[in-house]
Symmetry: C2
Subunit: 307 residues, 2 copies
């Protein structure tokens, strides 16, 4: 599974980067890096492009040893991880993560991450494993048809594997991507799941493959439709304020970012590639009654089931 997941996310990274570079008309910058504690990754970044202000598509394949204290911490979210002998545990993690921040305020930011994690007994046999991930959409201005298309495409990928997945993982997504101190969601939803090991690994790998392959059909039609729409400076400013909220979620609440920043030897620039190129904080900004901005906020305060 380790090698096949690695192979799969590499192929997907190449395919996604090729398509997005074509959408933008700008090539990505490709950085290959190594982790001193074991493993490495490939970061593909496009900055100040025609369509994307910042786009990052990153894969990482890391391995090494988890100290017992780290194992205990992870048990909170991952029921089966354990170090019975109290020794450090060998681990392997492979994942693809991506955040796209488009230039046009009518075009939504999108985030995606799929990962496989495994721990090994001293004899090399598998101790625990799981898949995790998801994808979610963060518009500054809401187009219902975009939110519906995005969710419909993901739902189709989920339904092929388990009819319960989509409703369960959409709810999990709304709960996870919640900016608690603002009382609002980060975006309009998508799916989120973690610690998924309740089926045969082959079945779950097939599920994750279909989810990841659904990304381009879920997002490219939206960006194509929105990237050249006219917009005003005031609309750009609203987008910048929403980007500020995105930063707040990622730095204050996102467990993945916090885990990454606290991992010794972590590559900070790859973790924080999720942050927008620019953001804005304005004291006590209030959208005008009846405005598109007000509608957006209303939906962020009361998550919608789009399909």
């Amino acid at each position: 599974m380790r090698l096949r997941m690695e192979q799969f996310i590499k192929e997907q990274q190449t395919a996604i980067v090729a398509t997005l570079a074509e959408v933008d008309g700008t090539p990505f910058k490709i950085d290959t890096w190594e982790r001193s504690h074991g493993g490495g990754g490939i970061s593909c970044i496009l900055q100040d492009g025609n369509v994307f202000e910042k786009a990052g598509v990153n894969i990482s394949i890391v391995y090494g040893k988890l100290p017992p204290a780290a194992v205990e911490k992870m048990r909170v979210d991952h029921k089966n991880i354990a170090s019975p002998t109290g020794e450090p545990l060998d681990f392997f993690a492979a994942g693809l993560s991506m955040v796209l921040h488009p230039r046009n305020p009518n075009a939504p930011t999108v985030h995606l991450n799929y990962r496989y994690f495994e721990t090994m007994n001293p004899d090399g046999s598998s101790q625990s494993w799981w898949f995790g991930g998801g994808t979610d959409l963060t518009p500054s201005y809401l187009f219902d048809e975009d939110a519906i298309h995005f969710h419909k495409t993901i739902k189709e990928a989920c339904d092929k594997h388990d009819k319960e997945y989509f409703p369960k993982f959409k709810k999990w997504c709304d709960e996870y991507f919640f900016v608690k101190h603002r009382g609002e969601s980060r975006g309009v939803g998508g799916i989120f799941f973690d610690d998924l090991d309740d089926k045969d690994p082959e079945q779950l790998f097939a599920f994750v493959q279909d989810c990841l392959k659904a990304f381009l059909p879920s997002y490219v039609p939206i960006i194509e439709k929105r990237k050249d729409m006219p917009f005003t400076p005031a609309e750009k400013e609203w987008q910048q304020l929403r980007r500020g909220r995105y930063v707040e979620f990622n730095l204050v609440h996102d467990r993945g970012t916090s885990f990454g920043l606290n991992t010794p030897g972590a590559r900070v620039e790859s973790i924080l590639m999720s942050l927008p190129l620019t953001a804005r904080w304005q004291y006590m900004h209030e959208p005008a009654p009846g405005s598109r901005e007000e509608r957006m906020l209303k939906v962020l305060k009361e998550p919608v089931d789009w399909v």
Copy 2:
């Protein structure tokens, strides 16, 4: 002490806001707010001014009950707080906090906060009390003379009360305002202290008064000197990148911000008034060898004793 601290920070807020409004040529917006759980505050904000991109001078006087769990949490940093009966503890907190983000990249951001905290026994007698606070300077471009002037002015205020304060609190400042995941300080230093109750409260109040009164002389000469210096778009962009780091510190590491955002009924807009109007994140930005930007980074990685 409670009423006198309240009175003192109100006077200082008025004096500071009047001076900064004159420096900028723009009046502050003044918001008076109440806290549903007890108390309230006055937030003075200037946004998009001539000199300041964003300037916030805030006082808050809040009181109410601390649940035993909160008391236990606070004991980590505040040795004397205790609820012997296991009942919620009455508390009172009064403080002034301020962050100024100037427009000109040659002019430094400055932060200041002084506060008094007290808990009361059920019979109304004082259970524990302390002062905390400090001030620190965050330039995008380093002018040694500014860092020296700032520290010298604060040192004079400290030395009047205890010769050990300044070196001790400068060190504490360098340790506290450290962006751990970047391995660099937020700025060039200042002072920071907390849980200060090792002298007579009158003596410590006099010390805090002198520190706060030293603010205008420590900062106004610097902003006057830097506010009209010419600068290039590239210098503005570097400032924006440094503002991004400021956001990273405040949202990821600052215990005050985190405590505030997790306090039920907290006024989020007043807490996050410390964030800059605009900020920027650029993947793998590296200053040119021998540049002013490189010198700045070097000093942030190895704190300097300026006086």
